[in-house]
Symmetry: C2
Subunit: 458 residues, 2 copies
């Protein structure tokens, strides 16, 4: 046989993995639906004019580009070809790229369909995205994102609703040790303001963000080497040393940022949000003033979900943005969104053996195929089992009993029905419980109750 | 605002269309599951070595090719570039393509994972495919296929099972006027055999296939112009004139093909299959000896589903093949499969207004946001409604009542809860039925029964 494989960084999903992944997607979709989010889907490809420039230079490189159809070289300048001028040539031979995330297509969707959208618009979207990154453990070139966003409203009730969804999805999946870290970009801006370094917010936060990995002293060293002055360093140190429960942290922040209006605004937003989340009982929320992800686009709340033991990194994140669609010419479209990392959630649940056992069930009942003479009766039984809502199949050939039983075992089919000559003669069948190795004979007219009785126990 | 659009031939799916499409996919998936089919998914991209040459020359051209990452021009011969040698250049700058159908990826899957597959293997797969065809009404560049196959068994019980699934899916969707046409490739081979034109089977069937469109006389003319002799033409005419019910057609075929062993084998297979389908009560089966689709790969049964009025063409098709995986070096893997045309089914159901009304419901209950002081109570109601399994949201801002009501109407939310000062003072709420314009006041502790009573009626 020739060696055939999926492309590097992509995967086949076998039946068990498919069903387990679906369990995650369905749990997420259900949580969104329960809060009135509406599903949309966008095409796998977008025009490169939509995608380019939205993810930084690195992002542009990682977009999978689709070769134009037909005589795609015709339009290309010969000089560019001879000089192998990559940029020139690419722009001529490729007009479309594969979806890189769900946010830019959503922004494009909003602008394109604005006249049919009712604001506030709450949408969720669960689809694959593609990135030409170097594949490594836990990082794929095709992976799924599960995004929910609420746009057209600035109320902090929206942040609350998303945090509640975070909490309830992780709880439903049995991921009970997740912490949801919470911050507000205005607090980081406030910190930069009071030390007189507002223009270097990103420089500062990139270093602060390493706190967990390198510790407070090295963070200080690095900031110093970047030219932050001693007074600033001492304020940052006080900021990094903030601790206690959420209330205590807010109190310390208020003191530290008392001279920064924007910082105080951030604290007020966090405080209001915490009141809301307390009302709807969101668990596991922890203020982390150093949380600094997505500073390029987040303007208010920032949040991130992680397992306590930090074995696998972030499994979800989100925040408030003020300008979803400005890049497409539609200003002031504020919103707040979150994204579940389905592949990492899968890895974590797999590692912890959290998938319900029943997901591995392929088919409820196998009917043994004895003999062409008995086919009509056997098929009749199959249809009766299915009419009762249980999946069922007849083994397609009158193979040896041992082979058919082996098939049932291999597919972990829990019940087998035997309908041989004896049974046929008395309108009966034998129901065999494959897990317990027990069997019982029933009249065919008792099929419904026999199944009901037995299915409960398997 | 800048003009932004989805690429030509691709579509966004808005919430209603998404839910309607999901209804079709879920109906199909459920039918497969009930018969013990297992779901798999394969990556959107395949190596071009897997795809190329599998769909004919035209197919190769219609595969969307993905530009290699990085310095993709490096490996290309300068001469090929200067000469704009499309074939040479393409083979160097692109190694992957988008999935063109679900059959070739399935064959690749079987070969790659053979050691973990239990035969007979019944799999279904519902995923998008991409073809660079010229877009036109009802034909898209990204569309969904829904395939089911049973491999590793030659029993005609498998054909029966697929036909049963065809029938039950179309019935479930309310498509009651579908005919399932049935033929066997061996019968067409038999016809070519008895007229001594076995080497020209394809030539003959291409013309015969036009019968519905051009009529029997023009078919005769065209065959004559292709050099079929008078005796052959008269046999073909007799073949085309076969009519009556399925039993009568089989009898006429037996007579006509009595000297062709392969033809008689085809008739025997059809006859056995019809016995099986009668046992499990497959409706709407109609033998059509002229049905000739997929002759490149089908070796036994051929079937196709069409609405009676032929308004939209085939909405599903399938057949028996003997060599699914030979192209990847694994011989003798016989199987039978079917494919639902989800996009055409959608168009047909939309045209006939067949989607259940409840699919347009976006959210069950909107709670009006009166005042920040009442938020805690309002949020409590939202959580209670959700705990009862009904989707619910609080309007995120204390906007004017009129605006909030307009929102509920615009999203077709059937129930609105009002919880104002008066209500709060007496632990009550008002439940408004938006369709009937009626409203009733309940105690908050009666919420569950109030919803139960009202939801039934909307």
């Amino acid at each position: 046989m020739s060696k055939v494989n999926t492309p590097k960084g992509t995967r086949d999903f076998n039946p068990l993995v498919f069903v387990q992944r679906k369990y995650i997607f369905d749990t997420i979709a259900k949580a969104f639906q329960l809060s009135g989010f509406l599903p949309i889907e966008t095409p796998s490809m977008e025009n490169l004019s939509v995608l380019n420039g939205k993810y930084g230079e690195e992002g542009d490189r990682l977009i999978f580009k689709i070769l134009n159809s037909g005589e795609y070289l015709k339009k290309v300048d010969s000089k560019a070809l001879i000089e192998k001028d990559l940029k020139q040539v690419t722009s001529k031979i490729s007009e479309k790229g594969l979806r890189y995330d769900l946010t830019v297509p959503f922004a494009r969707y909003v602008v394109q369909h604005l006249n049919t959208i009712t604001l506030p618009f709450k949408r969720y979207q669960i689809q694959p995205v593609w990135r030409a990154e170097r594949p490594q453990k836990g990082r794929y070139r095709e992976f799924f994102q599960c995004d929910g966003d609420i746009i057209g409203t600035t109320s902090l009730l929206n942040e609350m609703e998303l945090l509640k969804i975070f909490d309830s999805v992780y709880s439903s999946l049995g991921l009970t040790d997740i912490i949801i870290k919470l911050n507000n970009r205005k607090i980081l801006t406030g910190l930069s303001e009071i030390i007189g370094e507002q223009s270097r917010l990103t420089d500062m936060t990139v270093v602060i963000d390493k706190l967990d990995k390198i510790g407070i002293e090295k963070v200080q060293d690095e900031l110093k080497s970047k030219g932050f002055d001693d007074e600033g360093l001492s304020t940052i140190k006080a900021f990094l040393e903030i601790k206690g429960d959420n209330k205590a942290k807010l109190a310390q922040l208020s003191q530290l940022l008392e001279n920064s209006p924007i910082g105080l605004k951030g604290i007020e937003e966090l405080s209001t949000l915490l009141n809301f989340t307390a009302t709807v009982k969101v668990q596991r929320l922890e203020i982390d003033p150093t949380l600094a992800r997505g500073l390029n686009y987040y303007t208010g709340a920032i949040f991130e979900a992680k397992p306590l033991d930090d074995s696998i990194g972030s499994i979800g994140a989100g925040g408030r943005y003020d300008n979803l669609t400005e890049v497409f010419g539609l200003k002031d479209m504020s919103g707040v969104g979150l994204s579940f990392g389905a592949d990492r959630i899968y890895d974590l649940m797999e590692m912890r053996n959290l998938f319900p056992k029943h997901l591995s069930r392929t088919c409820d009942v196998l009917v043994i195929n004895f003999d062409d003479q008995l086919l009509t009766g056997a098929l009749d039984i199959v249809e009766k089992v299915k009419a009762n809502g249980h999946s069922c199949m007849l083994y397609p050939e009158p193979a040896k009993m041992k082979k058919q039983m082996k098939y049932a075992n291999s597919l972990e089919i829990p019940l087998v029905i035997l309908y041989g000559e004896d049974e046929a003669a008395h309108s009966k069948f034998v129901l065999k419980n494959m897990q317990q190795g027990t069997q019982e004979t029933f009249l065919i007219k008792e099929l419904k109750s026999a199944l009901k009785k037995t299915i409960i126990n398997i």
